[in-house]
């Protein structure tokens, strides 16, 4: 019996539900016009939870922003694409280690046509494609790349992290070697040097335009880039009405040729039920971020296709190592043995996720699950609690995000499971607006977290979450050996040494259990069946230019 059969989901029940929601007036009144627009072959309409809050990615990582940045800007490099092994219709970046390729990576030039890394691994030099024009008709030169990276050093946004992982702290480390040649000088061999040039967070801006619109109050054109485009990507923003919609227009002068979709309308539809209904009705081409069960109902709907591919997402529970009793490794291990992951996969994700059997994304190079021991085992959990001195259990609090509908059912399933070993947890629903304050303050004993490390590298991933000096080490995890190993792995280019290093890191982290490992949710896209070209990126965003009919 399939999931759909078990839930008794029929076309009729879904239509009844859709009618109920529509009757409730939850569908935006403006959609008749959108529906008409969607019928035009070269227009793509996306129903999204929210419009971009800003187009300047330096200060905004919201979902609408990263989707926009992927269409408005280009990077120096990109990964080659391969078919997804589980969904042959979908493409994905080839992020594997290729020992037969230069620098062990399957890279392609984008704004850069040539690149090289010095034998000692401390200099990366990029030769730019000539004749590339921005949407303001300014030609791409090395000065644009230089200005882009200098901006990161000067603004207190995402930039310092992006430069920091490369060891770049001064403008002098980024040198213009010619009109079309730029070089990056890093203090030690750095395996992230090329990967960072693919990272969505490092697009290249049109420095000429940005300098024109800058002022003494705003020398890095932040105000302009919040609402406008100044880049070399395939689209420009033509309208941004926050809370309603953003409209993107394809550039006829894009150096790779004009994209298939002339116009992309990015429409804000806050409730997932409405997005689902709009997709079923054919009013939109893509419905983003539906609930797992909603995707299941769409799998057999006519005219709709659902892609679900393994992704870099993970959802876990931070077990705060500075708060009792989670300062005890045996308690943390017990909490992992008590996590009902199979139930979560079945009842909450309906199969659209994978058990989180490791501490870096399953799709990333050097991932291993050979240190996985935490299949649900309440006897083992109870024994560990007894060894830790908590034979009668304990009480604690689990905080979760009110804005993420999957977290409450997971928390309830976990609460029921923990009750069987004497652990009583109170569920603390935190409003979405303040949830990340809760996370970053690191004062909660247990709190959910959903995140993804965008750069497909074990060093980048473990540096983010398990280095005790990282801002993102929200579980207050400290293991000096792990810190040293992560650092050494980020200072060598030898793939064999890196594999050994990060295998050991994964072994230590899995043993220390700083997280309650839950699942890796898949990246799921619900689209009209005639819309093709879906490509998965580790930054978990859409690129409008990929799609065609």
């Amino acid at each position: 019996m399939t999931e759909r059969d078990r839930l008794n989901v029929t076309r009729r029940t879904v239509l009844e539900g859709a009618a109920a929601v529509a009757a409730g007036g939850v569908l935006p009144a403006s959609f008749p016009s959108i529906a008409a627009a969607a019928e035009e072959t070269h227009t793509m309409v996306i129903a999204a939870p929210a419009t971009p809050q800003s187009l300047d990615h330096e200060f905004d990582v919201s979902l609408g922003t990263i989707d926009s940045v992927g269409g408005l800007y280009d990077n120096l490099l990109e990964y080659e694409k391969v078919h997804d092994p589980k969904d042959p219709e979908a493409l994905r970046e080839d992020i594997s280690v290729h020992t037969d390729r230069p620098y062990n990576l399957a890279l392609k030039g984008k704004l850069a046509e040539k690149w090289e890394v010095s034998p000692d691994g401390t200099v990366g030099r990029f030769t730019l494609r000539q004749g590339v024009k921005s949407n303001w008709a300014n030609e791409l030169t090395a000065d644009d790349v230089k200005w882009t990276w200098d901006r990161k050093l000067h603004l207190n946004g995402l930039g310092p992290f992006q430069t920091g992982v490369l060891g770049i702290t001064k403008e002098e480390q980024i040198q213009v070697d010619g009109r079309y040649v730029i070089s990056f000088h890093v203090p030690k061999p750095n395996p992230l040097l090329l990967k960072q040039m693919v990272n969505l967070s490092n697009p290249v801006y049109d420095a000429t335009k940005c300098k024109q619109v800058s002022s003494s109050d705003d020398p890095w054109a932040h105000k302009f880039l919040e609402n406008n485009t100044a880049g070399f990507g395939p689209y420009v923003v033509s309208q941004l009405t926050r809370g309603q919609q953003a409209v993107f227009k394809a550039r006829a002068d894009y150096y790779r040729g004009k994209p298939y979709m002339d116009t992309v309308i990015f429409k804000e539809v806050p409730t997932s039920a409405s997005r689902l209904s709009l997709l079923q009705g054919g009013s939109v081409d893509i419905a983003q971020f539906l609930q797992p069960l909603e995707y299941i109902t769409l799998t057999k709907a006519s005219g709709v296709k659902v892609d679900a591919v393994p992704a870099s997402f993970a959802i876990w529970i931070e077990l705060n190592a500075k708060i009792k009793p989670f300062d005890n490794v045996k308690v943390r291990q017990a909490m992992n043995y008590a996590l009902p992951r199979d139930d979560v996969l079945k009842a909450v994700y309906h199969g659209l996720a994978d058990k989180q059997t490791g501490c870096i994304p399953i799709i990333y190079p050097n991932f291993t699950d050979k240190f996985w021991t935490y299949d649900t085992n309440l006897d083992k959990a109870k024994a560990l609690l007894t060894e830790a001195g908590f034979k009668d259990g304990f009480k604690s609090t689990l905080s979760y995000n009110a804005g993420d509908p999957v977290q409450e059912p997971i928390a309830i399933l976990y609460q029921t499971s923990l009750r069987k070993i004497g652990v009583e947890i109170t569920l603390n629903k935190v409003p979405a607006a303040t949830f990340y304050d809760f996370v970053t303050k690191r004062e909660q004993p247990m709190i959910f977290y959903l995140d993804s490390p965008w750069v497909p590298d074990p060093g980048y991933s473990t540096q983010l979450y398990f280095n005790s000096k990282s801002y993102v080490d929200y579980s207050n995890y400290v293991n000096p050996e792990v810190d040293d190993l992560i650092k050494s792995g980020l200072e060598t280019l030898d793939p064999k040494v890196r594999d050994e290093t990060y295998t050991r890191v994964q072994q230590l982290v899995m043993g220390d259990a700083p997280w309650g490992f839950i699942v890796w949710p898949r990246y799921v896209l619900a689209r009209r069946a005639n819309l093709e070209g879906f490509t998965y990126y580790t930054s978990n965003n859409l690129r409008f230019q990929d799609f065609h009919r």
């Binding site: 989901v9 929601v21 997932s272 009842a347 059912p409 309830i412």
Partner: protein
């Protein structure tokens, strides 16, 4: 001049010559007569009684634990093993619907009771001293203007803000309900007292040298309380709705506490995918209960109206007030 109970200008629920037993018998007979002639009112009392009985006996009548997830049976449609089906975590919807009034009713009763007690007390004082001079007048004005400010905010938004400030807990919801309802009772009582304090029996008490506190307690409040009681019942229903509303937007009780509003909120997304039962049954229970309290409020209002009472007594035959 002494006035008989229930006569124009006289106290409504009087005291005087008849004993406690006689009054109770009279009230009971009158109540039965009311239900006999107005069966809709009887329906309201039955609804509330059934809900209250289920709430009290929930551990005995609910087939499953209301807070234990069973993922092996998640989102099952209604069947013999789960009459109302199961929710997304496999909890039995019927059991949770039965347990929910323990929370909803308790919050509504305590919250409304607190607001009624405080509002009535303040309203009586403010109304009685409305025409006074000096400090009492100033305090009366201050209380009324504070109520104006309080009522300037949308009730639901104000309640959400209060819960946000004091944290997500049952106590916070009770406090929020009590706080937003105080002005209702304050104004109601004040308007009643302003009329009653001009009655001759109050003036007589004053002239005879009784202190204000005694007059308010003995003569004013008992005769001004009827509309408050009628309002109380309606307000309990409204407070249940407010509690459910707060839970629906995530500002009410903590999960997985069985509570109708949170059950509707949790089950609502499943309507689109065809699983209507997790939200429909708690929604029905909520609607019926609020309706029941509304009907009871209407019946109390009926009973508090001397003219309608006399009409009922005349139409129904020999119901005689032993005090008359």
């Amino acid at each position: 001049m002494a006035l008989s109970p229930n006569q124009p200008g006289g106290p409504i629920w009087s005291t005087g010559r008849r004993g406690a037993g006689g009054r109770a018998r009279f009230a009971l007979r009158y109540f039965i007569q009311l239900l006999r002639t107005h069966p809709v009112y009887a329906g309201g009392y039955v609804i509330v009684a059934v809900v209250a009985i289920f709430a009290l006996a929930a551990p005995l009548v609910a087939p499953y634990s209301p807070i234990t997830a069973d993922p092996s049976v998640y989102l099952l449609p209604p069947s013999f093993s789960h009459l109302f089906g199961t929710d997304v975590t496999g909890m039995d919807v019927l059991s949770r619907v039965i347990f929910a009034p323990r929370i909803d009713l308790a919050i509504a009763l305590v919250g409304t009771g607190l607001s009624a007690a405080i509002g009535t007390f303040l309203g009586a004082l403010v109304g009685y001293h409305q025409d006074a001079r000096g400090v009492p007048r100033f305090l009366s004005g201050f209380v009324m203007r504070s109520a104006d400010v309080l009522q300037a905010f949308p009730v639901f938004v104000f309640a959400i803000a209060l819960v946000a400030v004091f944290g997500q807990s049952i106590a916070s919801v009770v406090f929020a309900i009590a706080f937003v309802n105080i002005p209702i009772y304050l104004r109601l009582m004040r308007s009643q007292v302003m009329n009653i304090r001009r009655m001759r029996y109050v003036e007589a008490a004053y002239v005879s040298g009784m202190p204000d506190s005694y007059i308010i307690r003995r003569h004013v409040v008992p005769n001004a309380i009827a509309p408050v009681l009628a309002q109380l019942s309606v307000n309990i229903g409204w407070s249940i709705l407010l509690t459910a509303g707060l839970s629906f937007v995530g500002a009410g009780v903590r999960a997985p506490t069985p509570e109708w509003g949170s059950m509707i909120a949790t089950g609502f997304p499943n309507i689109m995918t065809g699983q209507w039962w997790p939200s429909l049954f708690p929604g029905l229970a909520l609607a019926v209960t609020v309706y029941g309290f509304g009907i009871i409020g209407a019946s109390i209002e009926f009973m508090a109206d001397p003219r309608r009472r006399r009409t009922l007594a005349n139409a129904g035959g020999p119901i005689r007030d032993p005090g008359e």
